[in-house]
Point group: C2
Chain length 325, copies 2
């Protein structure tokens, strides 16, 4: 075979960035209880693989989330992050996510100079863009790179998507993310959306990112579809670890991009048993029938997460519930 | 969301056919040891779901394959198939696969009138097309529908693909299948190949089919990519059961095509535990790292199948072996 029959490899654009969101999206699976060894080993693997950003968790508001119930990567205090990953000077940057309405950013996000975090990713729904812009401007003024991640985009109309992009066009965000929170998008649909985002990116001089979910086993396909369309910020997680059906698997993506990234450090990380131990401790994620159902009907995955939490086995009834809701 | 953002649903072309290959490709996983109850239940589910063809197995040569070592669906004697599925008059048709060089077709394939099989699918590599044509003509003369499935297409050059299609253009095959045996193809590549096949299909008045493997978790994506391009024969299997990394999952495909097919009978089949019992009996298939490696490097999956058979856990070494072979 040559590249002709396999499928065109992406032009490995310098602007292309891979973001490892394992700790952040994976943290939603195991309440952010990652050991320091795990985090350091993941950092080393990501760095060796050529990953551009490692997202270390959320900057969640401890007045909303009980610190006892979560590992420290839910809150990403600068000193906690620095204790594990500080002192490293490397090409790879650290990112952290802040949800609109769930982050006391004025109290908790300090000037960049004192922080191991390089980039804040502001997560918002389409109806809280002004708040997101407020957070973006705040973080930008403090010296951070920023992205804005517009969640659950599959539930929005084309008009809302466009309006949202136009509102964000003047924000300091370096990249605007297309986020398929529900895992509802098919490759054709994600390409069409990506083209809309890319047109806005062109207009407002911003990069575009993709964060896919695997409800219909399309996270990787949708990610590389967006990549082919010109989307440069690509999220992935080791073993696709992430809420519900999980994400685009980093090992699949690095394999696809093997002209520029190196799959072997991530395979070595897996071989060392890091993910296996998480599973043995009870962490569960990945494509399964209930996630297929919520993704297919474009519903929030919470119903499917609940299905598995309640150890339900009546998938036919679940299909009826979701399809008629 | 509307169809706009989700992704255009395929125009549900009347010519579009879904082929359930569970017994045939799944049989490669469990040596075709499916109980009569399983087969009847699968038939009923497929029929209720709207599936067009159920592929019941191979017409393998018992002089090559020891009958003791396989279930009867490896050989698909007309009387054995009829005993389980005979007497049914339904819209859904039965198919059977015959490999070039592994089927004593002149001895074992009899006139259509006496057979519960409606269609023979001739599986060939690109270098045994004359033999495949011989089998196609034989089956056609006996009154069967036929398709020709060109395996491991990812290892062939563009020129070989074209030459093969031109050779088959004059054959009686109703459909020519693009078969990604190695799971090496990406959506862009499979679309380009599909377009080549479709051009030949247009020229020679044949349909085109897709049979994908899931080494890089792209079987479903590749299948719907082909569907979008105009490919009308779509293979899938329940739970993606099939050799190695398995196939496009029927439940994913029927969900995608929900304007015309009904997912619920297949979910009911799954809920009844049929696939679970196969797994409990030791059947293993589906995306995993070693399959990713062989797919990524466009190798036959046998090395990965061997990796798991030998209970290896040294994926880094395996990557080195495969990437340097």
């Amino acid at each position: 075979m040559t590249e002709e029959t396999a499928g065109a490899q992406p032009i490995l654009r310098p602007a292309l960035k891979v973001v490892d969101a394992t700790l952040r999206d994976g943290g939603l699976v195991n309440d952010f209880r990652f050991s320091d060894d795990f985090v350091r080993a993941l950092y080393a693997a990501d760095l060796a693989a050529g990953v551009d950003y490692m997202e270390v968790g959320y900057k969640a508001d401890r007045d909303i989330f009980d610190e006892i119930k979560f590992g420290k990567w839910k809150f990403c205090r600068d000193e906690d992050v620095a204790a594990v990953l500080g002192g490293r000077t490397s090409r790879m940057k650290l990112a952290c996510m802040a949800d609109v309405g769930r982050c006391n950013f004025r109290r908790d996000i300090c000037a960049k100079g004192n922080s191991p975090i390089d980039m804040y990713r502001i997560a918002t729904y389409a109806d809280t863009i002004p708040e997101a812009i407020g957070m973006l401007e705040y973080c930008d003024k403090l010296g951070y790179e920023t992205t804005v991640n517009i969640m659950a985009i599959s539930r929005e109309s084309v008009e809302t998507v466009q309006r949202t992009l136009d509102m964000l066009g003047g924000s300091p965000a370096k990249a605007i993310y297309l986020v398929d929170s529900y895992g509802a998008l098919y490759p054709d649909g994600v390409r069409a959306l990506a083209e809309t985002y890319l047109a806005a990116g062109q207009k407002y001089q911003k990069e575009i990112g993709i964060h896919a979910h695997n409800n219909q086993n399309l996270a990787f396909a949708n990610t590389i579809t967006c990549c082919g369309a010109g989307v440069n910020y690509l999220d992935a997680t080791v073993s696709g670890m992430g809420r519900g059906a999980g994400n685009c698997a980093l090992e699949l993506l690095l394999g696809y991009l093997k002209g520029r990234f190196d799959l072997s450090p991530v395979l070595a990380f897996l071989e060392a048993g890091h993910m296996q131990r998480l599973k043995e401790a009870g962490a569960m994620w990945g494509y399964d029938l209930a996630y297929l159902v919520t993704g297919l009907y474009n519903r929030h995955p919470s119903a499917a997460i609940g299905y598995y939490k309640d150890a339900r086995m009546d998938i036919s009834a679940f299909l009826k519930e979701v399809s008629s809701s």
